[in-house]
């Protein structure tokens, strides 16, 4: 702690200040979305290995049943989001733009949609770390902040690492998104329970909830619920993109840098998203699987933007209908406007990693001509990792992908999009870097 912290907001160098567009949805309580007539549950919902389907065509499944099981440690099971009949197991459009195997369920409209009581009840205080981590895997938990990395893998800290602080990421720095904000206001008990479970899993003595200072209502709401022993605290950091990146949050809150190419556990940290921990708090004690998630539906031409609790596998067509989408031409984005993925069709379903559906109409996303780099240095001053995007962009244009990786730290780029955001020449820098990374990976594979 240095003295300067008393006078300034906690933050990290560089970054950008995009318009927030959060007012449309952040004051509206979360509402439950009805069940779509057909639910498309992808088997590959998480980073790592896809789950293996254990149901067959025509089988009746009840909401909450395991319909696909984990394929090894880097995988999580999938539970039925609705009660219904397995229509088929076939390839279906996925959020990544391709088609992948999915379980398609026809929702039973006549049967109730109760989740039957599970035979597994967990009391986290009585369980060992290994048992808890297994339980987190069994409920199919992945990082709900967008990456969909299996949570239990993250919790499985190597034996030679000690975690001194658990960071709970409630920054939600992407414009438009307000799910974490709502979770922190509406789900405080589950969140705190989830934090305690996670603290036990990673053996962390203390936990800090980090929020951006545009959500001070959360600070006021949560503070009275925090334990008096000071093991769990909440702190505000500057509202700045990409504050919610774990590297940035670690620096802002604790002045710690996560080493290049390393993990938070290298410096004694474990970082989880608030929505993830709130779901763990809600589901793990009951032994229930992750079958729905909170999602922000917002953007242009919508009658009812807001936060919805949506069953995993709900197709976009149904979501947008429900939100009263009126447009005829738009971009559909899964996630935030800075790092989200484009949806190719209305048949794409939401997955465990989908935090938002954003509709931007044509005028908001006008494409300008790409001009040569004029070396204005704006990208250098925006890059939170302090890379040299200008030079990286020039090298990408020359296809010197190896130099980008070896001399200019390409692999430290986490594609936050700040450089593209500020570029006066409209150079799609992030896209160049993605291509470079993929080609480098292919090259390394070929060279063994």
């Amino acid at each position: 702690m240095n003295l300067l912290n008393l006078f300034s907001t906690k933050t990290f160098p560089h970054g950008i200040h995009p318009d927030e567009y959060k007012a449309e949805t952040n004051a509206k309580p979360t509402r439950r979305l009805p069940f779509a007539p057909e639910i498309i549950v992808h088997l590959a919902q998480n980073i790592g290995k896809p789950a293996k389907a254990i149901v067959f065509k025509g089988q009746l499944v009840t909401r909450g049943d395991v319909i696909a099981e984990a394929d090894g440690f880097m995988s999580v099971p999938i539970h039925a989001p609705v009660t219904g009949i397995i229509k088929e197991i076939d390839i279906a459009p996925n959020p990544k733009g391709g088609k992948e195997p999915a379980i398609i369920i026809t929702t039973s409209l006549d049967s109730g949609q109760q989740v039957p009581a599970s035979d597994r009840y967990y009391d986290y205080q009585q369980m060992s770390r290994a048992e808890l981590i297994k339980a987190v895997q069994d409920i199919g938990m992945v990082g709900l902040g967008g990456a969909a990395f299996p949570t239990h893998v993250k919790m499985n800290i190597p034996a030679d690492r000690t975690i001194h602080t658990l960071l709970i990421n409630g920054c939600e720095c992407e414009p438009f998104l307000t799910t974490d904000h709502r979770v922190m206001l509406e789900n405080i008990d589950n969140l705190l329970l989830g934090i305690r479970i996670a603290m036990k899993c990673v053996a962390a003595p203390k936990a800090i909830i980090g929020i951006e200072d545009n959500k001070l209502d959360v600070l006021e709401t949560i503070k009275p619920h925090l334990p008096s022993d000071g093991t769990i605290t909440i702190e505000a950091v500057e509202t700045k993109y990409p504050q919610g990146a774990e590297k940035m949050l670690a620096y802002s809150l604790l002045d710690i840098e996560i080493p290049s190419g390393g993990l938070p556990s290298d410096v004694g940290l474990a970082v989880f998203n608030v929505a993830t921990l709130a779901e763990i708090g809600a589901l793990l004690p009951k032994g229930q699987g992750l079958i729905e998630r909170i999602i922000t539906i917002t953007g242009d031409d919508l009658e009812k933007p807001g936060n919805y609790l949506a069953p995993i596998g709900t197709p976009l067509r149904y979501l947008l209908d429900f939100a009263g989408f009126q447009g005829v031409e738009a971009e559909l984005i899964l996630g935030g406007p800075m790092m989200g993925m484009p949806a190719r069709s209305l048949d794409v379903p939401i997955t465990k990693g989908t935090g938002a559906v954003l509709v931007l109409d044509k005028r908001a996303t006008k494409n300008d001509e790409i001009l040569p780099c004029i070396k204005c240095t704006q990208c250098l001053q925006a890059c939170p990792i302090n890379l040299n995007p200008s030079e990286l962009g020039l090298l990408a244009a020359k296809r010197q992908y190896d130099v980008m990786e070896e001399k200019y730290h390409l692999n430290d780029c986490f594609e936050c999009g700040c450089c593209s955001y500020v570029c006066p020449s409209n150079i799609p820098l992030v896209q160049y870097f993605r291509i470079a990374k993929v080609l480098n990976r292919e090259r390394h594979l070929q060279n063994g």
């Binding site: 995009p18 414009p175 590297k247 620096y251 840098e257 996560i258 080493p259 290049s260 190419g261 390393g262 067509r317 947008l320 209908d321 447009g327 005829v328 031409e329 738009a330 971009e331 984005i333 406007p337 800075m338 790092m339 989200g340 993925m341 484009p342 949806a343 190719r344 069709s345 209305l346 954003l358 931007l360 908001a364 996303t365 300008d368 001009l371 780099c373 004029i374 070396k375 240095t377 704006q378 250098l380 939170p384 990792i385 302090n386 890379l387 040299n388 030079e391 430290d412 999009g417 593209s420 955001y421 500020v422 570029c423 006066p424 020449s425 409209n426 799609p428 992030v430 896209q431 993605r434």
Partner: protein
């Protein structure tokens, strides 16, 4: 059901942007240069106006011509050629023959910019390439300064202005003697310092109450115009700051050694084209480094070289060569000044 004929646009993230376009940046630089242009016209009359127009039009015409030659969409609308033209005119003596100005404009764009591949690829500041060319080609004309605020400046051209192409311009000595107020010698403050050991008052230098190249005389006005661009985030303040810092410490060093022989840092900073060059020339985005440390090294180098050339070189005006040298050194400066990234590991650690 949502309309199945919905047209979905597909792009990759980020989907939102907020940046001025290149054309907007260049146009703002033009706006920032206009007050300086106006002041030079006020000081030197229609000759300065004609020179500004000729170099600007020459630069833009050259840019258009080469775009047409190479079957590309004309890039004159991005205003970068206009910027080069204005910058060029302001570094020339106000009585510079117009045809030579046209040659300078052509050289600036053709050899300084198009040759390298146009905007974004030029190694040197195009305006300075043009000026360096005419400095070598027309050494007399480019060192012939005429007095400011001549009475008839708004109705009468300086005699040398209207020289015919490839003709030797009319001598201005007689005209100068005629219009000059008290014993004007046609020498700029820098020349006075160098050859006669006469120091001009710092206040006059700062306000611009002296003679010199068309747009370089008033440090005050240059700073105000520069601040406008800094406010608009279209000028990197670090470059002028580093150039001025480099000049001050280098000049201070010599001044400290022998105050009688060497001029004071204040004089160095406010005389000649230094302020103009620091604010508008060295800060040329394309030809200067992008790395934070590199920007500092570049600026200090330019400042240092300016002082050395001014004190020990054969020329009175030095900052142009200092910047061209700095431009040339930019790639190597960048190579050695890459920023330290977040979470960088110490190399020694990795190896051990």
């Amino acid at each position: 059901m949502a309309k199945s004929d919905l047209k979905i646009d597909i792009r990759t993230s980020p989907y939102i942007r907020k940046a001025p376009s290149v054309a907007q940046i260049m146009r703002n630089v033009v706006y920032a240069l206009l007050p300086l242009a106006a002041y030079s016209v006020y000081q030197f009359g229609i000759s300065a106006l004609a020179l500004l127009l000729v170099t600007t039009l020459s630069c833009m015409a050259t840019e258009h011509f080469f775009c047409w030659m190479s079957d590309k969409k004309s890039t004159i609308l991005d205003a970068s050629a206009a910027v080069s033209g204005l910058l060029l005119a302001m570094t020339l003596p106000p009585g510079f023959p117009l045809w030579m100005g046209a040659v300078a404009g052509f050289t600036a764009i053709a050899m300084g910019k198009t040759l390298f591949g146009g905007l974004g690829f030029n190694v040197f500041n195009p305006a300075l390439v043009g000026r360096a060319f005419v400095q070598a080609a027309f050494p007399v004309s480019i060192t012939t300064w005429t007095p400011a605020l001549a009475v008839d400046r708004f109705v009468e051209f300086i005699p040398s202005t209207l020289a015919l192409p490839f003709m030797k311009p009319a001598a201005t000595a007689d005209w100068t003697a005629q219009v000059a107020i008290d014993g004007f010698s046609g020498a700029t403050p820098l020349a006075l310092m160098k050859f006669q050991g006469i120091m001009t008052d710092s206040y006059d230098l700062f306000i611009g109450n002296v003679t010199g190249s068309a747009g370089e005389t008033s440090s005050l006005l240059i700073l105000v115009c520069g601040l406008y661009l800094v406010y608009k985030k279209m000028l990197d303040w670090r470059i002028p700051a580093a150039v001025i810092f480099g000049t001050v410490i280098s000049a201070e060093l010599f001044y400290f050694l022998d105050p009688n022989k060497y001029p004071s840092p204040t004089f160095m900073v406010f005389s000649g084209g230094l302020m103009f060059a620091a604010v508008f020339m060295a800060s040329d985005m394309v030809a200067s480094p992008v790395t934070p440390l590199g920007i500092f090294v570049f600026g200090v180098l330019v400042g240092f070289l300016t002082v050395i050339i001014r004190l020990f070189g054969g020329l009175t005006e030095a900052v142009m060569y200092a910047i061209l040298f700095g431009n040339a050194a930019t790639p190597i400066i960048e190579t050695y000044t890459q920023p330290r990234i977040y979470g960088a590991r110490k190399k020694a650690k990795e190896k051990s």
